[in-house]
Amino acid sequence: MAYLQAFGAYLPSRIVDNHEIAAATGTDAEYILRASGIEQRRFAAPGESVSSLGICAAKDCLESAGLAARDVGLLLAASSSSERRFPGPASSIGAGLAINGVPAIDLPIASAGSLFGISLAAHLAPAYGNVLVVASEVMSRVVERTPAHRDTAILFGDGAGACLVTAEPGFAEIRDSLLASDGDLAAALRLDLNAPLYMDGRTIILQAARKIPRAITELIERNQTTANQVEVFLMHQANFNLITRVAHALAVPEDRFFLNIQRYGNTSSASLLIAAAEWRQQHAAPIAGPLVFASFGAGLHWGALLAAPPSVGNRL
């Protein structure tokens, strides 16, 4: 049994609006908003890094949980924009939290990395105790802001999120998760060495619009739940138009999906946890119904995770 204890987030201070991106990519601000639902995103400062953003989000999460870094038994760090091939940011984030000695594992999975992290943490918490999942991205340094790369340049922003998964009761019990991967389409969304991020947007959207609702449906049906019973859907903030299509496919109102893509853009693996942190900040009361997390991204990797109010006897 594992629980969601707390979330955290960190967003760099520099706000980049659509006018700035439009000027660099030869498009217009209205087009960006229409195509993605994004109004602005954040860019990391020159002195900030994937690790430094991740450390800030981790500290925010631990503060929300009322725990110290020394209480962490395992650190999982997702990122697709790490500044170097190895080591990944996990050990540096651990060092920044002054928990050297605690195992720190990298999950180099874009977009779906934090969902995979929470799911793995749920399985590992009984053995390791408190598992801190961090997702951190500096996407602004891996996209090329030119007219030739307009379709990716308009989407991405920087940020970090964190989640504490524990074996001790938390505000939600992790009931089940469904993870999947398909390498046949690995080339459709990738970051090659010494090249900007490449995305075949048509293929990715076609696959995501089909696979995300299917994963959610399979997950909730095998847990005797319906989409209409779900209190909130927390999705990877990839594109507003994709999220609304997932809502329509599940036949649930769009407002059941928490949205902050308009302010932060697509922060890849970090977006799910940034959204969860903001949602939890706005809804601090005990949850009344199931929560569904869902992500899709490069790999392809995708999946969904179901959490629910803790069973009687395990409520806080």
Binding site: D184, T203, I205, L206, Q207, A209
Partner: protein
């Protein structure tokens, strides 16, 4: 209504504009379909022709033009 006319009707509906490109012209390059309209069109094709398009066939090239859509549907009949 012919099959091509049905496809044209779907394209016009999901793109919210009259179709002015020829059957062999790209619906993508001409700006008729963006990624999301493409997704909507695939769903509408499934409904209209009572088929289920498997994920492995969800390649944009299968739906790039009216002619390619017809060729794809031929493989499903």
């Amino acid at each position: 209504m012919t099959r091509q006319a049905k496809i044209t009707e779907i394209v016009e509906k999901v793109s919210s504009q009259p179709l002015v490109v020829g059957p062999d012209e790209s619906l993508f390059e001409s700006g008729v379909l963006d990624s999301f309209a493409l997704t909507d069109m695939v769903g509408a094709l499934e409904d209209m022709f009572s088929i289920r398009i498997p994920d492995s066939d969800l390649a944009p090239r299968n739906f790039e033009s009216i002619a390619r859509i017809e060729a794809y549907l031929d493989t499903r009949s």
